[in-house]
Amino acid sequence: MKGKFDIDVLVASPSTITNRRVQRAMPDYAKMKKPDVKLVVLGDLNVGKTSLLHRYTERKFKDTISTVGGAFFLKQWGPYNISIWDTAGREQFHGLGSLYCRGAAAVILTYDVTNWQSLAELEDRFLYLTDTANSDCIFAIVGNKADLTDPRALVAEPEEEEGGDEKEGVPWANPSPTAPPMFRKQVFREDAVALYSRILRYKLLDEAASMPAERMCFETSAKTGYNVDLLFETLFDMVLPSILRKKSQNESPTVDLEECLEVNRTKDGCCT
């Protein structure tokens, strides 16, 4: 596989995935590990957030149901643990976004290239949720489902196992007769780039001092894997400085997950 590091842990809300395979290779007890840094995937429902994470962590494209609440994955990246939060796009869970974004080092704003509204929603409904993210939070704008509009995205990433049963990996120059019908592309790269500039303005960030739009706008396909590794690995590399700073400051009084054992304390405090 392309990633340098294997995924360690998968923690998912029970309802996120219907047929979740329980048997993963080696269960590691990193489940208890405290993540060093947080990435959050935001976006309207059905744009393919969960699918992107599946593609990246399990190298597969599989059936999903609309996410309930949220879920997260822990990714071992070198010596660091990165938690990647998959959020629910449904209106109902919208309010949880701020909580998820708090302290995030990077936010992936996801839209569906065949759906103009999904891009508009990013600005209207999702952007303000990121107010709680770190002040130096990195933003990526990701147009998913590129396979539906862009023949290039039909080419499966070479090292990946085949997920779907459709005939994928057809070179675009010679599209096979069974290639899926093309959808109209509603959102173009320029639109995403423009949104990116507006985000910088919203955040009162200096465009010259921030990551350039060309590097931060991606078009991906969770279905074929097109640009998926690129997306995540680019972001991991960009958040590394943030991790290092956090480590050096070492000020974060984050609660150890295992502290919940505390619950067994007596209600009277120290006396038993």
Partner: protein
């Protein structure tokens, strides 16, 4: 799904509480140790003693004994009860007023002071910042709009310590340290009452649905979120766990690590905090209250109280394992690491890992299985014992009890699927290979190696031989029949060898070579045996099998003796004489052996040399009378003989000469004569009988090799003489003589030759000889002149040195002592050391003898 994590056990039945009074409902409960307090809507507090016991069927049950009930006299429902056991107080909320009553008699304490009015709801800080054990910190939602108050409750009074305002009306509160976790009318928030800092969590419509705020650990809370979610949030305002998915109608939640228990209208659901999955659902109607008290989860309907008793962790894990949910079981076990004493945990954890390994093994997930076996430090024999007959019968192993898996053996596991069996076997091979040299195999190396040997033998695995050839612990008694069964006789031989039973090994191998047993492991087994014997230190064995080996092939068989390393050590030493005597029967072998002694090892013993020469000779003689087709062989045989006769000086010449007397082996005879220095005889034979002049010349060269020039000259002259012998004149001899002279001019004394030659020979004929002789003479002369000149020069140099060293006069007197012996000089003779120091002649001589550098020291000088 469906772990059985909890069991619902009735604690207080309806009739004990309210009998048949239909309108009485349970409003709140509190549980503190064995004490259960129940508040009802008719303003009563009931106090029960809850005893735990086990039914004859082994089930846990509770029996409740009513100690007291007390009417608070307000006709209002009792809203909340909290025990402060250190103070022996019960904090009661009824009719918007908090009062403090005695835990035992339920009487209100000191009328006025211990009372807070205008309270909507309150909570106890289970993790207070103040360390005072004799007070309890309360977070109170005041009826006054948008205010939360912090009170300290003492034995007989309460004290307001802080009041903070909130942006909206709070309706539920929880307290941890300085952090208030509040449900406001439209959202949840965290509020630090010490600093006033606040943190919005997420929106929630508390008007529409009752919020839940539940402290689950230090600075972490569990909150009811939209869509029936249970959200986790820390005091910092972040979520570190994925939410759990309750139903929309959730009423209450409690935590009993590692589970989150929730109550809704029809069910109690149990989610794991470790993986957020739903683990158990219990149906429960009319649920009203769900709360945890010191890890005990208590559940109440409006009429009765129940306890959700967690099943022992191990039991839960075993259930999961029984359902083959390995990963969940391990997660659960791992999650409990901190709750169980370390050694106990380790034992449990190990066992679970082992069980998990076996489950995966049964599903042929070998990689995972191996990893779990490794982590669980599995006794490998548990695994080996699954494979019928692999463990040695002598093994003391018995399977662990209770068993780690459900398989009787491999066949049971594979259900007759041979491919599965095969894959399992391959796995075991790779597994045993890996562990045999690690500490895993400590204490059962025999079992491991024997099992591995059996697997190898059965699978026709090439590593069988490597295993046996290197250090191993295979048990002979158990392995031998197995190897025989699989026709691995060569391997069995190796095993015998390893156990120092060389004889048994050889016997077996011999039978394989003879074709009595079938084993194609080594096509060169015969050579292998010979090689083995050539190294074998046990001479009895060597003698025992030598005959068999030699009879099979003398040329190879004799290597038993020829390859044997020559050692001084008595143990493995074979006396060549004994060997020769033994080999006499084997014509071919003995030649090879003698050649080995004489030619290879160069043993300088007359006996062997003579013997070899005689053997060679006999061979030649044996070949001679035969048909001409054997010329080639004869030539070879003769060459061997000739070489030996020429090279060796040890054989008995006379003996051979006698043998050769009447044969045509002229060259050989000549050589023998040459060995006796009877050169005239030899040359006579060569010139007159063999008539081979080049050979004659060669003879001269050979016979005079490593002799001085005179000797050489003598021989050449001798040959010339034979050529010129007037007794047998002939042109060819004349020509030979001329050729000899011309070719070897330097070998002759020219003046002597000229005197010998007949007058009539032309000068032209001898030109090469003469010019060669002349050049030789000239050369010799000039060389000697040069030598003379050089000698003269050296002499001059020496003279010069002498004069130089002599220097001035050297004084010797009776007063002056010799530097070396310190005696005085009595005679004028003395020796001067370099630097002119006189010493006694004998002292100098003595010193010169002792000193390695003799030449420098002596510098005799005669003195006056």
């Amino acid at each position: 799904m469906s772990v059985k994590a909890f069991e619902l056990v009735p604690a207080v039945e309806r009739d004990l509480l309210m009998g048949d009074k239909a309108r009485i409902n349970i409003e709140c409960i509190e549980c503190c140790g064995k004490h259960l307090y129940v508040g009802t809507n008719d303003c009563f507090i009931h106090h029960f003693l809850l005893e735990e016991h086990t039914t004859p069927k082994g089930k846990l049950a509770f029996s409740a004994q009513k100690l007291l009930h007390k009417y608070l006299g307000l006709k209002k429902p009792v809203n909340e009860l909290k025990a402060a056991s250190a103070l022996e107080r019960l904090i009661v909320l009824c009719d918007n007023t908090v009062t403090v009553v005695d835990m035992v008699n339920l009487e209100a304490v000191s009328s006025g002071g211990a009372r807070i009015k205008g309270v909507v709801s309150f909570c106890v800080n289970e993790n207070p910042v103040t360390g005072d054990p004799f007070c309890v910190e309360l977070g109170v939602i005041a009826a006054k709009r948008r205010t939360v108050q912090i009170y300290m409750v003492y034995e007989d009074r309460v004290q307001l310590v802080k009041e903070v305002s909130t942006p909206e009306q709070p309706c539920a509160v929880c307290l941890d340290g300085y952090f208030l976790c509040l449900a406001l009318s439209t959202q949840y928030m965290i509020l630090n009452y010490n600093t006033g800092a606040s943190q919005d969590l997420f929106p929630y419509d508390s008007e529409e649905k009752k919020p839940i705020v539940k402290r689950i650990g230090r600075e972490e809370f569990l909150l009811a979120a939209p869509g029936g979610l249970g959200m986790f949030a820390t005091a910092e305002g972040v979520s570190q766990r994925a939410p759990v998915n309750w139903s929309e109608s959730v009423i209450g939640a409690a935590v009993c690590f590692p589970y989150v228990v929730a109550l809704d209208e029809g069910f109690v659901t149990v989610h794991s905090m470790l993986d957020q999955q739903l683990k158990q659902t219990l149906s429960f109607r009319d649920g009203n209250i769900l709360q945890d008290f010191e890890g005990k989860v208590v559940l109440a309907s409006t009429k009765a109280v129940y306890v959700l008793v967690p099943l022992p962790l191990e039991r839960q894990i075993q259930d999961l394992l029984a359902g083959r949910r390995v990963e969940e079981a391990l997660t659960l076990a791992e999650g409990a690491r901190r709750n169980i004493p370390k050694d106990k945990f380790q034992i449990m954890h190990r066992r679970i890992l082992q069980q998990a390994g076996f489950i995966q093994f049964g599903q042929l997930q070998f990689l995972e299985a191996k990893e779990h076996f490794r982590k669980g430090q599995l006794d490998v024999r548990e695994l080996i014992s699954l494979y019928p007959l692999l463990l040695p019968s002598s093994s003391s192993f018995t399977r662990c009890h209770p068993p780690l898996h459900e398989f009787a053996d491999l066949n049971h596991l594979a259900q007759g699927d041979q491919e599965k069996v095969q894959r399992c076997k391959l796995f075991l091979i790779s597994y045993l290979r890996e562990v045999r040299s690690t500490e895993v195999a400590n204490g059962c190396r025999e079992d491991v190696d024997t099992a591995l040997l059996k697997l190898y033998a059965e699978a026709n695995h090439e590593s069988l031989l490597d295993l046996l050839a290197s250090e191993n612990a295979c048990l002979l008694a158990d392995s031998a029949p197995w190897l025989e069964k699989h026709h691995k006789y060569f391997a069995l031989g190796l095993l015998y060898r390893y156990h120092s039973q060389d004889d048994a090994a050889l016997q077996l191998w011999v039978r394989v070579v003879n074709g009595d047993l079938q084993d194609s492991t080594r096509s060169d087994l015969y050579e292998y045996i010979v090689d083995f014997l050539s190294f074998c230190p046990n001479l009895d064995l060597v003698w025992k099998y030598a005959e068999w080996a030699l009879q099979k092939d003398q040329k190879v068989g004799v290597q038993i003796f020829t390859r044997r390393a020559v050692s001084d050590d008595q143990a493995g030493h074979l006396n060549p004489d004994t060997v020769i005597e033994y080999l006499l029967k084997y014509q071919q072998a003995i030649v090879l052996y003698l050649e080995h002694l004489v030619l290879d090892r160069r043993v300088q013993k007359e006996k062997f040399h003579t013997h070899l020469a005689v053997v060679y000779l006999d061979k030649v003689l044996g070949l001679l009378p035969q048909s001409p087709t054997t010329t080639q062989q004869v030539t070879e045989a003769r060459e061997q003989l000739q070489n030996l006769l020429k090279e060796s000086n040890l054989y008995r010449v006379q003996l051979l000469l006698d043998k050769l007397q009447d044969t045509e082996l002229l060259l050989e005879r000549a050589t023998l004569h040459g060995k006796l220095e009877e050169h005239d005889k030899a040359l006579h034979i060569l010139v007159h009988q063999l008539k081979d002049f080049p050979v004659a010349e060669g003879y001269c060269m050979w016979a005079s090799a490593s002799r001085d020039q005179d000797y050489q000259q003598r021989l050449f002259h001798l040959l010339l003489g034979v050529y010129l012998d007037s007794d047998a004149p002939g042109d060819e001899h004349t020509m030979a003589a001329v050729d000899l002279l011309n070719r070897h001019a330097g070998m002759f004394d020219a003046t002597h030759v000229l005197r010998l030659l007949p007058e009539g020979w032309s000068l032209q004929l001898l030109r090469p000889f003469l010019s060669g002789a002349l050049r030789g003479a000239m050369h010799a002369r000039r060389t000697s002149q040069v030598a003379l000149g050089l000698a003269g020069a050296e002499n001059l140099l020496l003279k010069h040195d002498r004069l130089k060293y002599r220097g001035g006069p050297v004084f010797v007197s009776e007063k002056k002592g010799c530097q070396l012996c310190h005696n005085t000089f009595t005679e004028p003779d003395c020796v001067c050391l370099p630097g002119g120091v006189p010493v006694h002649t004998h002292c100098a001589a003595q010193r010169a003898r002792d000193s390695p550098r003799k030449r420098q020291s002596t510098n005799p000088s005669n003195h006056t």
